[in-house]
């Protein structure tokens, strides 16, 4: 035993252990014939001995144990019942296996003696119930092949990187020497084959020896990764088209890596392939550039281009795409929207509102006590609170696209009904705004779209006569503009006729015959109640109720609406809306020790001066602002009618504008901008005149938010009607 090599010694030990375990299991089976663990351990013993023997070339052992294993496999699968007879045969097999292995261990090169061979055959016959002659040899071969398969693969001669280098014409002139790169490549691995082609070679007479005509295809075996190999040619990049095709064995490697990629986020195909090292960034960038440069409409996808260009094998690309799809689905499932109870969201927004208020209160205290060291902390917190506020408001934001797409159906149905050909184009559907605003804007939008359909777009015959395409177009567009959302409804129809509008307005007594109006003022008249330019009303629109309602609805959302039109060219209605209704930028004023908030967007200007300098006409109730007649309202008087109070020496005038209407509020003091969290008033106060809501100030005081629209109306009522008209239009 002394001259047995260590591997064989290990083998012998292993066999001893396995056979001992097998014997124990077999004996155990006599008691409990169906014990799966026992059967498994017997099977494992035979299987492992077969495998190990194969490694050492003990073919006879392999042949014998193979038969035993086959039978045991059937037993394991329940195809053959194990009985006392089989157990005894298996015990004999175990002894026999030990015997033949002993023989090989001690008489290495001698063939198995005939007696043992006979015993093998007899046992196999007993095991399988077949004649002993069908012994092991063929299956031995098979098994052997099985065991060495792995080795065969690794030495496969085709397992090379294939590097293609196509040098450009000027490569040599630019100081490149292709040979030097190949020389350097040698340091990374073994060059197995080089094919040199000169595809663009001209006739020898025309050939310029300073041009480079050489293309190389190099079969290269190396353990380096793609990056490293690519780096070899780093300096040649500009003068050479390089493709590096990984060897087939790498493919497996890449596929494995792809499978192992984390599935937490969707990546682009290129990114994935770079991550696993199948592609380098340069290759991706290059291919993408090419893709962009291709003007062809049906550009190929990246994966296809990579395969076409021989940068990567098809299976890797396919696998990557599959992986990408899988991740996409998974992520989609995960990142699906969470449905949140609107009430909870509302509660959160409320809390954030409170937070903003207490933030302001803290700010106040810090300033009051002049705590400079607290100042930094307070500022940081204010920033955070602002961020939280913005994020919380974001939660309520929805895309307007869904609202827009609903109009596709409206347009389709109505155009059919009217015998017109109209298409709806939607842009900016991804613009977001507050859910409440979206809900409330739906009706006005419907009205405007129907208007365009009905009045705007002409019949096909009319359109052709006007030299326009038969098919009319209505565009819905939305975009964000300085904290507000702008929605445009435009059509390429016949446009508004200013003369008709003026005539109608005069007939209705809205304007005077000789009044000079600007174009936009004229267009704005369509928002006046009772004005429709359509001679006869259809069931869609034209009854003159509508545009004024649209305007009112929009202004109720603190938005504004304007019209622009070109006769014969089309009409555009533009709506400006605030993004949210919960928190606004306010302007704080004080009158009679009471604080009021005016929405900042409605403040036009502030004039501060001594009251005696003002040209206030108390009887006519207007103020002369640089020659302009302006209705005004003393906020103090308005809200504290019964209180007797003295006017302070200095008063301020805040000029507010709502739509086109203007008015002045006379206040005692201006406090400046303020972030206002709008708190709706309770049921009891809902119908209060002139107040739209309330807010809590940092100091804990309550300030009322003015309903500017209502107040302007009120101010106008006090003024002589003729004056009011000229100032409001």
């Amino acid at each position: 035993m002394s001259d047995i090599n260590p591997a064989l010694e290990t083998f012998s030990q292993e066999v001893d252990e396995l056979l001992a375990a097998m014997e124990e299991a077999l004996l155990g089976l006599e008691g409990t014939p169906d014990d799966a663990d026992c059967i498994n351990s017997i099977f494992r013993a035979m299987h492992t001995i077969k495998g190990s023997s194969g490694l050492f070339g003990f073919d006879d052992v392999v042949a014998f144990t193979h038969e035993a294993e086959t039978v045991l496999d059937r037993v394991r699968n329940g195809e053959r019942a194990i009985d006392a007879e089989l157990v005894s045969v298996l015990l004999a097999c175990k002894d026999h296996t030990a015997q033949i292995i002993q023989h090989f261990l001690f008489n290495e090169d001698e063939p198995l003696p005939e007696s043992l061979h006979q015993q093998s055959r007899a046992l196999i016959a007993q095991l399988t119930g077949q004649s002993a002659a069908v012994g092991g040899m063929p299956s031995t071969q098979e098994e052997k092949a099985d065991h060495f398969e792995v080795d065969d693969n690794t030495t496969d001669s085709s397992d090379n990187w294939v590097i293609s280098l196509a040098f450009k014409q000027n490569a040599l002139r630019n100081g490149m020497d292709p040979l030097s790169f190949i020389r350097y490549l040698q340091t990374l691995g073994k060059i197995n084959e080089v094919i040199i082609t000169m595809p663009t070679l001209p006739r020898i007479e025309d050939m310029d020896p300073e041009d480079c005509y050489l293309n190389f295809k190099i079969a290269f075996s190396s353990n380096a990764d793609k990056r490293t190999i690519e780096d070899v040619f780093e300096f040649a990049e500009d003068d050479c088209d390089i493709t590096i095709l990984p060897p087939n064995s790498r493919q497996e490697h890449y596929l494995q890596l792809l499978a192992d990629l984390p599935e937490d986020q969707v990546k682009r195909l290129g990114e994935m392939l770079i991550e696993i090292g199948a592609l380098t960034e340069k290759e991706v960038a290059h291919t993408l550039n090419e893709q962009c440069a291709d003007d062809n409409l049906d550009t190929k996808p990246l994966g296809e281009m990579l395969v076409d260009k021989n940068i990567l094998q098809q299976p890797v690309v396919e696998q990557a795409l599959k992986k990408q799809e899988a991740v996409k689905q998974k992520v989609n499932k995960e990142s699906n929207y969470i449905r949140v109870d609107a009430a909870k969201l509302g509660y959160l927004i409320n809390l954030v509102g409170e937070l903003v208020i207490s933030g302001a209160a803290m700010r106040l205290m810090v300033d009051k006590h002049g705590l400079s060291d607290v100042d930094d902390v307070a500022s940081t917190m204010s920033h955070l609170v602002e961020d939280i506020r913005d994020t919380a408001l974001q939660l309520r934001m929805v895309q307007i696209g869904e609202t827009f797409t609903r109009f596709q159906r409206v347009v389709h149905d109505v155009s059919k009904e009217l015998g017109k050909q109209i298409q709806l184009q939607i842009t900016g559907g991804e613009s977001e705004l507050d859910k409440t605003v979206v809900e409330k804007i739906n009706d006005p939008l419907t009205h405007l779209v129907r208007n365009s359909l009905d009045h705007g777009i002409e019949t096909p015959a009319e359109r052709l006569r006007a030299g326009k395409p038969e098919k009319g177009t209505i565009q819905l567009n939305a975009y964000h503009d300085s904290g507000r959302i702008v929605i445009q409804i435009s059509d390429d129809g016949k446009g508004l006729d200013p003369e008709k509008i003026v005539a109608k307005a005069v007939a209705k007594g809205l304007v005077k015959q000789d009044q000079v109006l600007s174009k936009s003022e004229i267009y704005h008249l369509i928002f006046e109640p009772g004005l429709s330019t359509k001679e006869e009303a259809s069931n869609l629109s034209g009854r003159g109720v509508g545009m004024d309602v649209v305007k009112r609805n929009i202004e109720a959302l603190r938005g504004s609406v304007s019209v622009d039109s070109e006769l014969g060219q089309g009409t555009t209605v533009t709506i400006h809306l605030p993004l949210t209704l919960a928190i606004i930028d306010g302007f704080m004023v004080e009158a009679q020790k009471e604080r009021y908030i005016i929405p900042l967007s409605m403040v036009e200007e502030c004039v501060e001066m001594n009251s005696d300098e003002w040209q206030i006409d108390d009887t006519q109730h207007y103020v002369n602002l640089r020659g302009q007649v302006l209705p005004y309202l003393r906020l103090g008087d308005f809200f504290h009618k019964n209180k007797k109070h003295t006017h302070t020496q200095r008063e301020s005038l805040v000029v507010v504008r709502f739509g086109e209407a203007k008015a002045g509020f006379v206040v005692d003091e201006l406090h400046g901008e303020n972030q206002t969290v709008i708190k709706p008033l309770g049921k009891l106060f809902e119908n209060l005149n002139g107040i739209g809501g309330a807010t809590v100030l940092g100091s804990g005081d309550v300030a009322l938010i003015l309903d500017v629209q209502g107040l302007i109306q009120h101010a106008k009522k006090q003024v002589n009607p003729t004056l009011a008209l000229s100032s409001s239009v």
């Binding site: 040599l172 292709p178 040979l179 040199i196 020896p209 005509y213 050489l214």
Partner: protein
């Protein structure tokens, strides 16, 4: 003069006396082209004095080989210098040109 020809029964033996690099590729090409005429049956290039060869030089050799096949004359490369052998080894070109390469006894591979 880069090369000087010895004419003998349609067999030209030309020793290349200079480096085969981009710097003299132009003149080398002119010279070699000069030998590619109808009367040439075999062109022998003696490369023993080529101390340096680069891609441009290699390109000319490949070109000449292709031209020889086209025109039906034989190109033989003789007495490859170390520099030539090195790139032939690198690019496994020995088989392509098919000329016996004699590796000198004092061959030292750098």
């Amino acid at each position: 003069m880069t090369a000087k020809a010895n004419k003998n029964d349609g067999i030209l033996c030309v020793p290349i006396m200079d480096d085969m690099t981009i710097y003299n590729a132009q003149s080398l090409k002119e010279t070699l082209l000069g030998y590619c005429h109808a009367g040439t049956q075999e062109l022998q290039l003696d490369l023993s004095a080529v101390a340096e060869i680069d891609s441009a030089g290699l390109q000319l050799l490949l070109l000449l080989k292709a031209e020889a096949q086209k025109r039906g004359f034989t190109l033989r490369l003789l007495r490859h210098s170390e520099a030539v052998i090195e790139i032939f080894e690198l690019l496994k070109l020995g088989m392509y040109f098919g000329d016996p390469i004699v590796i000198p006894a004092n061959w030292k591979k750098s």
